[in-house]
Amino acid sequence: MKQDEALISDALRGSARAWEALVRRHETRVYNFSLRLMGNQTDAFDLMQEVFLGVFRNLHRFRGESLFTTWMFRIAHNKAVDMNRRRRLFSEHDLYAEQDADDDADPLDQLTADLPLQDPAAILSEERSNRDINRYLGALSWDQRLIVELKVFQSHTFDEIAELQDIPANTAKTRFYTALKKLKELMELEHDMS
């Protein structure tokens, strides 16, 4: 996208405003990617910040050979894998503790519902739907969850996934198929119970 390229070029020249605009353009997608992978807002927020920090530090390496979003999601994928590894390590040693997302921010500002007020019933049903999806995804193994994210939400091809994860394309296909079957069972089970 031309707009991304212009913002990147200005940001590389030291424009904080351009950088902020670039982040604002993509943060919702990165945050929701993080939310589905990490399963909770605190970790998703941390991951999103790590992703943008990684993007910022490596911005001078972006050559424009691929779309900025492709390049950014490669960083996001790697950061997510790292964070999951760290999280697993910490939880194994029982050291993991939740931290506040941002101690310095005014907590009232974090209430996105504060301005403007949206339809509460819509918010509730939306939140429930997302929570259900996160519950289904949470029942998958990390590898399965990651592949579902890349295939369903990021619309990657199996060849792209194979390259990103350094696995054969057939492994990616089998993993995705197994994940889909498990998700189908979970959804059916829940449907029957309700």
């Binding site: 500002d109 519902a113 504060d114 007020l117 509460p120 739907s129 999806i133």
Partner: protein, 229 residues
């Protein structure tokens, strides 16, 4: 009935960049195989359910890394002034004033400021000024706390009113399902508000406690200076 081609067919079918020829081959098999048809429909349904995900808004955060802020000077005063640093700034100014023995006197000719010299102002006056400042800080803290509570209450009232309105318009009358939704929403809202309120109180209290504590320390220091003379 099973088919050994199901996995292959589904994963291929869900590819985003299938050619027309590839698609035609898959369609051909689907016409002949009921099992694959059924499995493909289920897989598509599962994907569709996942794609009902509604993007959630990003919480407020600091988007600009510090290194970039150093490059670009802030355009607006408010962008670099952090109100949480106010107590520290006040404490620093007071400390400098005490250390340099600054005397401020209101004479008939105007205000006189003396550094380290005698200006006819006793330590008791400094102590009195500090006490007044402390009282003022306490009052401001109370006002801020009250404002925060009012803001939270207004927000909650507006959300509640809107919820009731939307439920009534959506369901016409109170069904058990709508009531469940209302209760769930209220519960969630209350929990969220409580957490935010608690955290806001804590932040305000921490900041003001820091100021008051600094003032008290300065008062003790001034008193000690006075006694040691």
């Amino acid at each position: 009935m099973t088919c050994h081609k199901t996995e292959y067919l589904i994963t291929e079918y869900l590819e985003v960049d299938l050619t027309a020829r590839q698609r035609a081959i898959l369609e051909q098999h689907l016409q002949e195989c009921a099992h694959c048809r059924q499995e493909l429909a289920a897989a598509q349904q599962t994907q569709a359910r996942l794609r009902t995900w509604q993007d959630e808004p990003v919480p407020q955060w600091n988007r600009i890394p510090e290194s970039l802020l150093k490059v670009e000077k802030p355009r607006k005063l408010e962008s670099f002034f952090n109100w949480q640093l106010a107590p520290l700034a006040v404490s620093f100014l007071l400390a400098v004033a005490v250390m340099m023995n600054v005397k401020i006197t209101n004479t008939p000719d105007g205000i006189a400021v003396a550094f380290g010299g005698e200006a006819g102002v006793s330590e008791s006056l400094v102590l009195e000024q500090l006490a007044r400042f402390e009282a003022q800080q306490r009052q401001e803290q109370e006002e801020r706390m009250q404002a925060l509570t009012v803001r939270m209450e207004e927000r909650q009232d507006a959300a509640n009113a809107q919820l009731i309105e939307s439920v009534v318009s959506q369901f016409g009358e109170s069904t058990s399902r709508s009531l469940e939704q209302v209760v769930a929403y209220f519960e969630e809202q209350r929990q969220q508000d409580l957490q935010v309120l608690q955290s806001s109180y804590q932040q305000l209290a921490d900041s003001d406690y820091q100021t008051i504590r600094s003032v008290q320390q300065l008062a003790t220091y001034v008193q000690y200076q006075a006694e040691s003379r």
